[in-house]
């Protein structure tokens, strides 16, 4: 790839930043070139995010139907699994899985809830409710 062929496709995911790609310059050496995005990469990224939003949506409706606790939504939103969340908080995986049940979740004391709040960097109120602005809209 020559320097002039480096894609500059304005990938919105870059949020105004650019990325380095390597390409061949006129004098035959291979140099760093700033690139604002490549359509092919952008498509792959957006496919992955579409899938994430799809999963998040289904969790959202399950929480709304009271099949899962709001914690499930926050967990999915943070791209975590129960296993990973448990490791980060020092819980057993089955403890976190229990907390995903609305009945168990509603009976948790504030201290335990705060542990989740601190990790997700949200307030107690936010942990107990579903958000209003949804990422897939």
């Amino acid at each position: 790839m020559k320097v002039k062929d480096v894609p500059q496709d304005q990938n919105e995911s870059y949020e105004g930043h650019s990325k380095i790609r390597y390409a061949k310059s006129e004098d035959g050496s291979i140099v760093k070139v700033k690139s604002s995005g490549w359509k092919v990469e952008e498509d792959a990224t957006s496919l992955a995010w579409d899938d994430i939003h799809e999963n998040l949506k289904s969790v959202y409706f399950k929480v709304e139907a009271n099949e899962l606790s709001p914690l499930a939504y926050r967990m999915e939103e943070a791209l975590l699994t129960a296993d990973l969340l448990a490791q980060n908080l020092g819980y057993w995986t089955f403890t976190v899985k229990r907390h995903l049940k609305p009945k168990v979740f509603n009976g948790l004391n504030e201290k335990k809830l705060m542990k989740y709040c601190d990790y997700f960097e949200i307030t107690l109120e936010e942990l107990k409710t579903l958000p209003k602005d949804l990422p897939w809209k």
């Binding site: 790839m1 995911s13 870059y14 949020e15 930043h17 650019s18 990325k19 380095i20 790609r21 390597y22 390409a23 061949k24 035959g28 050496s29 291979i30 140099v31 760093k32 700033k34 490549w38 092919v40 990469e41 498509d43 792959a44 990224t45 496919l47 992955a48 995010w49 899938d51 943070a78 791209l79 975590l80 990973l84 490791q87 980060n88 960097e121």
Partner: protein, 332 residues
């Protein structure tokens, strides 16, 4: 900004960028491309039976953390690396080192770094960056993926450094110890290339190197039959993300590697490496074609099929094979 003597290095990849920065801030010349080559960063790995975020593992780079170490060892440069069990001790040690004006490389979970664009933040535990100094409410960090130095709050820093899970960083800090100078570049380049060639050609397990590419090619053929359509497309798009999205300089590090061969050939006055560089560049171009085809399948555009993508990969595998064989015969 009052950064004393620190030069930020905007690079394609985090680990090679950090390695190059750490060396150059100690007055030793080492470009990103050279660190990839000497640290044997070029790789291929496909693990169908372990899934990360739902997708089988595909990697175009060697195991995280090894590039810096190998560069130091092969160039006879002394370095130190420290890990911590206790996050309070780890944070204290970080502050202490920064007070002594040591430029530090650290390992982090990229999810907690708020200055990175949102769409690239996943729970990936092996993102490397440099901490330059402590500020009132956080740290001044130099992340090779961004053009400018950035700011990171203290709480994000602790969360990022002590995140758990696969490849957990355990607060890893690493730095070049004392005054050093690079020696034996020629030997280091030789060792770097030798390891890469051996690994890609003669891997004992069929998930690494050329064999790994062929395995992936066979898997791609099976995906549309074995999985539902959506999952098959996600698997394929994940391969492309690993090749392009995560900061590889394009074509899964193949362009940077061509740069390494090119630079080495000039430094060591070796025409064989220049020829190899041109071969690698042609291979990198093919990887780009592969990515374009694969995304067409994923987006259901045009008439490209999974089988055609698999064929293309097989073609590239053969091309890479003859490249490594060329190096094996003519250079090693």
């Amino acid at each position: 900004m009052e950064v004393t003597k620190y030069n930020h290095n905007f690079a394609a990849h985090c680990e090679t960028g950090v390695t190059s920065s750490l060396f150059e801030n100690k007055g030793m010349e080492l470009s990103e491309a050279m660190s990839l080559g000497i640290g044997s960063g070029l790789f291929f790995l496909y693990v169908p039976f372990i899934k990360v975020m739902g997708n089988p593992i595909t990697s175009y780079r060697s195991f995280p953390g090894t590039i810096f170490k190998k560069c130091c060892k092969r160039l006879k440069v002394k370095f130190r690396a420290e890990r911590f069990r206790n996050s309070i001790k780890g944070s204290k040690r970080l502050d202490q080192l920064l007070k002594n004006k040591v430029v530090l490389g650290i390992q982090t979970n990229i999810y907690w770094l708020s200055y990175i664009p949102k769409n690239f933040r996943f729970h990936f535990n092996a993102h490397n960056l440099i901490v330059v100094k402590k500020e009132e409410d956080g740290y001044l960090v130099s992340d090779p993926l961004l053009e400018e130095v950035s700011h990171c709050s203290e709480s994000s820093m602790t969360k990022a450094r002590f995140s758990k899970g696969p490849l957990a960083p355990k607060g890893l800090v690493y730095y070049i110890d004392g005054e050093n100078s690079i020696s034996q570049v020629e030997q280091a380049v030789y060792q770097g290339i030798k390891e890469t060639v051996r690994r890609m050609l003669y891997s004992p397990v069929p998930i690494v190197g050329i064999a790994g590419m062929k395995l992936l090619s066979r898997s791609i053929r099976k995906w549309p039959k074995k999985l539902d359509e959506r999952r098959a497309r996600l698997y394929l798009s994940n391969v492309i993300r690993m090749q392009e999205e995560i900061g590889t300089g394009g074509a899964g590090f193949r362009y940077i590697y061509a740069g390494f061969l090119n630079e080495s050939s000039k430094k060591l006055n070796n025409p064989i490496l220049l020829e190899a560089s041109e071969m690698m560049e042609a291979i990198a171009d093919e990887w780009r074609v592969f990515a374009t085809m694969a995304v067409k399948v994923c987006k259901n555009k045009g008439s490209v099929t999974f089988d055609q993508v698999a064929d293309k990969l097989l073609e590239i595998a053969e091309q890479e094979k003859s490249f490594y064989q060329f190096l094996n015969k003519r250079y090693l």
